[in-house]
Amino acid sequence: MSSTFAPSAPTASAPDPRKLTTKHRVSDRIFRAVVTAFSFSALIILALIGIFLLTKGLSAFKEQGLHFFTSSTWSVTQDANGKDVNHFGLAAMLLGTVLIAAVALFIAVPLSVLTALFLTFYAPERIRTLLVSVVDLMAAFPSILYGLWGFFILGPMAEYWAKLINKYLGWIPFLSVPQPSFTRSPFIAGIVLAVMIVPIITSVSREVFSQTPLDRVQAAYALGASKWGMIKAVVLPFGSSGIVGGAMLGLGRAFGETVAVYSVLNIVFRPNWHILFTQGGNVASMIIGQWGEAGKAEISALLAAGLVLFVLTLLVNFAADFVVNRAVKSGR
């Protein structure tokens, strides 16, 4: 029998691909089910956090209504009949959270980008690994260490700097002070936070910089660019979204920092724009400040404040993710 293989005739259209399935063995089905279930734990935990904080904090929300967000008064008192009169307003603390985070970013982002540039492009090989380890180690310092250092070591120095800034730049509204009292201010808290988030932003920036496509770098050099010219033309445009992503991660951390800020801040329930002045607060440190002596109603309010903090940091993290993912997609 002669085997005749006719050449495959061209078909009008390619057939649809077949669906490839398998029936997993029982042990594998159990395995996959267990693993999948556990993986959703992240979702479950996040949801539970939201749910419980909401339900336990609900009474505070209901009682205070919108004032929870707009008022700055936080007091637990009783009126003439012995009935509780509570005011829980987060406005001052929210303002403080934003102000301190702004000061922290203002200091930390340039410092981190410069350090990342130095580590990636200027540091000699032998020093580079050492310095990188130091920066990574910095990220592991417990936050209470920053609190201790911030209060005892940085405080006096920063107070002196604040006085200097006030002396020469005090004509700028938010750098003036109602009274010459400079200890434990949002400015100092901002510096402490800045030092805490520098390692995060630096390591994200460093990773992005080290991934700069080599062909663009060489193109710049071949055109006669100096090292700084190359950085300006190639590295910074390429890494800009990575830097922004890193800054937002740092921002999230700055929003949620408690003990470090508590140690160097004088928490007062009054909105304060004068960052050099010894008055301020942020939501996280306020919570632990008030917790010790809080009665049932106040605890509910503090839990509600915790929910606000939770939502805020989630939003910042989502935004950071979005920025970084968009950068990755556009192939920059």
């Binding site: 996959r32 979702l43 539970l48 580590l119 010219g229 991660l249």
Partner: protein, 352 residues
């Protein structure tokens, strides 16, 4: 035709800094330092700030004069950029050095042997710091870590397995959620345990609850590192197992996980380092306690971070001294954990 004789030609690097270049740089630094000193001594400028800024300014000016001769304004701009980045790096290093120096110099004073053998059961925080010790808080922290590890490591590894082995349709979502979870502030984790458990069940402050709060903070770190590590296991290992007809779970359990073992240990160690120093969540779930409590499920417990917190907030010089010494101990622990994670990680890299 070129010669192909073996040459005695020596490799050189004409672009590298020559000795004369280095000498000039060294000289300019010294001259700048001298000028800085003179300037600061004779003008109203004072303080570390003055020294720092004036030095960099003078050094930049001297350097620019030397450079502009040969390289023009472009060279000066390049040199300025180099100095500014150095400036930034130096500031960061100074901050780290300051923190380390403060911890060591202040903490060492309070080190005494009974620190590790006694508790605060009979001592008050404001008593002279050579009395009492932190044994209870060390034991408490160990309980916390144990509980956190027992829960978060399996959780983290299983989640990582889902992401790398099963790669289901929800993988993107789960990765996103893990990332979101890593951004949860530590205080929120503590509040959550309080709201969910203390307010709803008869359970009260205990090391167990503290461990649960730390778990929430630890799971994202473990998951992310474990995912990276599992992805590094070469595909052919898995394919070898599956090609022999093994089920997926057998392949994962007997082939993939052992291959990634040291990396998974690194993931655990990194997670522990992350949560060992957290204070805020413990304030809501464990409280401060002065004696050893052998039962992690009932009753308060001492922990290192709360010990430090109590020392700091008591406010006297003795109590603050306790805090410094305790943070020195904590820092040493974190440092050891970190170096451990690093060496394990490097060994893994080298072995590959």
């Amino acid at each position: 035709m070129s010669n192909s004789q073996s040459t005695q030609v020596q490799p050189i690097r004409p672009w590298a800094a020559s000795t004369s270049d280095r000498a000039i740089t060294g000289a300019s630094v010294l001259v700048s330092a001298l000028l800085t000193y003179i300037l600061v001594a004779t003008t109203p400028l004072k303080g570390k700030l003055a020294y720092f800024f004036v030095f960099f300014l003078i050094w930049f000016i001297i350097d620019s004069i030397l450079i502009s001769r040969r390289y023009g304004s472009k060279g000066v701009r390049d040199a300025l950029a180099a100095k500014v980045t150095l400036f930034g790096g130096v500031i960061v290093m100074l901050a780290v050095a300051s923190i380390l120096w403060a911890t060591i110099s202040k903490g060492v004073k309070g080190l005494h042997l009974s620190l590790f053998t006694q508790t605060m059961r009979t001592t008050s925080f404001t008593d002279p710091f050579s009395n009492g010790g932190m044994l209870h808080s060390i034991i408490g922290t160990l309980y916390l870590i144990l509980i956190a590890v027992l829960i978060s490591v399996p959780m983290g590894i299983l989640t990582a397995i889902y992401l790398t082995e099963i790669k289901g349709r929800a993988a993107g979502l789960i990765r996103f959620l893990v990332q979101a979870m890593s951004g949860v502030p530590s205080v929120v984790a503590g509040l959550f345990i309080y709201a969910a458990i203390i307010l709803n069940t008869p359970l009260r402050n205990s090391a167990f609850l503290g461990g649960l709060a730390l778990t929430i903070l630890m799971v994202p770190t473990v998951t992310r590192t474990a995912e990276e590590v599992l992805n590094l296991v070469p595909r052919d290992l898995r394919e070898a197992g599956l090609a022999m007809g093994a089920t997926q779970w057998k392949t994962v359990a007997l082939v993939v996980l052992p291959a990634a073992r040291s990396g998974l240990i690194t993931a655990t160690v990194l997670g522990v380092a992350r949560v060992a120093g957290e204070t805020a969540p413990l304030l809501f779930t464990v409280g401060v306690f002065d004696a050893i409590n052998p039962n992690p499920f009932k009753g308060g417990s001492g922990t290192i971070p709360t010990y430090i917190w109590a020392g700091l907030t008591a406010g006297t010089s003795d109590s603050v001294q306790r805090a410094w010494t305790a943070i020195l101990v904590l820092l040493m622990v974190v440092l050891i954990l970190f170096t451990l994670a690093r060496t394990l990680g490097n060994k893994r890299m080298k072995a590959k």
